[in-house]
């Protein structure tokens, strides 16, 4: 479950989010839309505890921003899968190694890792590209690899911050479909986008963020 209670955060340059209240239940697929600079990324960073609110409380999977120590952050992030516009794949590791990384962090054995990575690669349709490095993959393939890396640890929540920002319409559509498939397994998904056409008509709740203020669309 994700909950924002009167959350405000202001960056040094002034922008941020203002008095946010939001509740996303377990297993929901929610979209967050808003123009560039509206505060979507700030909201996401508050969710994975990269930022802490100036006031109010952020609750994610029982972790509360007002009761977290630095040590708790890495534990909390284990249960959150993240997908970014710039993929954040490690350029010096191949596809297999990138996707396997969270499992190594969690301490899985080599055999378990091999079988789970194979499954994840199959899910995102990147079979045969295990030994490819990120620069050898297209933008869509990199984003699918990023999604596989987020999903492989079977997190409770997936946060996707503008995941289609660098993708063409076909790849964007495929990625949203993949997120929907993952959501069907019970994973909560929150996807931020500025592309309303991509998310409209999917029957999912949409929150709109404008100048740091949130409203339900």
């Amino acid at each position: 479950m994700i909950e924002f209670q009167n959350v405000s955060y202001s960056h040094n340059k002034g922008y941020g989010v203002n008095n946010l209240n939001m509740l996303i239940k377990n297993g929901d697929f929610t979209f967050l839309i808003g123009p560039t600079g509206s505060g979507k990324t700030t909201l996401m960073r508050l969710l994975y505890f990269d930022l802490f609110p100036d006031s109010g409380i952020v609750k994610v999977n029982g972790n509360s921003s007002n009761r977290m120590s630095i040590r708790d952050i890495s534990k909390a992030r284990i249960n959150i899968g993240m997908v970014f516009q710039d993929y954040k794949l490690l350029s010096d590791r191949n596809l297999f190694e990138n996707i396997a990384l969270p499992l190594h962090v969690m301490g899985f054995s080599s055999n378990q890792i091999a079988s789970r990575v194979d499954e994840a690669i199959e899910l995102v349709g990147l079979e045969g590209k295990e030994s490819h490095f990120p620069k050898e993959l297209s933008g869509g393939e990199q984003q699918r690899a990023s999604l596989a890396r987020a999903f492989i640890k079977e997190p409770d929540i997936i946060l996707a911050d503008e995941p289609t920002g660098n993708l063409d319409p076909v790849a964007s559509f495929e990625l949203v479909r993949l997120l929907e498939t993952i959501n069907e397994t019970g994973t909560t998904v929150l996807m931020a986008s500025h592309n309303y056409n991509l998310i409209k008509g999917r029957g999912r709740p949409i929150f709109e963020l404008k100048n740091g203020i949130l409203r339900v669309r």
Binding site: Y48, M82, L90, S109
Partner: protein
């Protein structure tokens, strides 16, 4: 355990993945460690050089003409008892005659009809004193002995050599300390720069949920591996250098000196560079960890 092995292997793989950076680090460490090694060899062998030079110090003591050989032996015993004297060899009047004939090809008795040459002694000083040797008190004590007529010694030369050694012994620890400190700083900054080029990797690992230790360990193992490789290259290079210098000294100089590289130097360099590298990598990663 799987996780720990994974982190060790990641450290090794990272060295391979960033070959150019690793090679630069190894080469730079090699140069810096080679300099430290040379200073260490110089420091360790400076006393050996001094011992060699001290073996060449010669004090010639001439006795009065009327001294009998038996009395000369008595004086020699007294000289040997003086602090700082290693050996004293008697050259009696007959030996002096023989030496004269060897050097000039004629017998002085044939020329003069009697032996005017006095008995004498060649005195060698103690070589193994770590502090600078003071020759004057030895000369003073020998002079005070009865029957001693004249003493020849290379007073100024000995003074100069002992003073130079005194300065080396005094300043080398400070000089080495400064060099090691500067080299430590260079190693530290080199590793910091190398890690800063991978700050995105550190940030990505943090987002995945990796703990600080999980992020730091591969960098630390990488630093250890680079240190081991550098020291493994430096040690043979230092041994080769000493072999080369020994060859030059024995073949192209009149000195019979043998430079030696202590095996403990290998361990000492390894500990030094590993310690600095591990501290530097741990500190550098910490800078990029929020």
């Amino acid at each position: 355990m799987d996780k720990f092995f994974y982190l060790i292997i990641e450290g090794i793989k990272n060295t391979w993945r960033h070959k150019a950076t690793a090679l630069t680090a190894i080469f730079s460490l090699f140069i810096l460690l080679y300099i430290i090694g040379l200073i260490s060899i110089a420091e360790k062998n400076s006393f050996k050089v001094l011992q060699y030079l001290r073996s060449k110090y010669k004090i010639e003591v001439f006795f009065s003409e009327d001294l009998t050989n038996e009395e000369a032996i008595g004086v020699i015993h007294k000289i040997k008892k003086i602090k700082g004297v290693k050996t004293a060899t008697l050259i009696d009047k007959d030996d002096a005659l023989r030496i004269f004939k060897d050097q000039f090809g004629e017998s002085i008795i044939d020329l003069l009809g009697y032996n005017p040459l006095p008995a004498s002694s060649v005195v060698n000083v103690e070589r193994n004193i770590r502090r600078p040797l003071r020759i004057e008190p030895i000369i003073k004590e020998i002079k005070a002995l009865s029957y001693v007529e004249e003493i020849n010694y290379q007073g100024n030369l000995i003074k100069k050599i002992e003073n130079i050694y005194k300065k080396i012994a005094e300043y080398i620890p400070y000089f080495s300390g400064i060099v090691i400190f500067v080299i430590g700083l260079i190693i530290y900054n080199m590793i910091k720069v190398s890690i800063s080029s991978r700050r995105e990797t550190i940030q990505s690992l943090q987002l995945i949920g990796a703990t600080k230790l999980f992020i730091k360990l591969p960098f630390i193992f990488e630093a250890i591996l680079i240190s081991i490789i550098s020291v493994s290259l430096v040690f043979p290079a230092l041994i080769l250098t000493s072999v080369g210098l020994n060859y030059l000294i024995s073949n192209f100089t009149v000195y019979s000196l043998h430079l030696h590289v202590a095996p403990s130097l290998f361990l000492w360099l390894l500990i030094l560079v590993t310690l600095v590298s591990v501290l530097a990598s741990q500190r550098a990663v910490s800078i990029f960890l929020k």
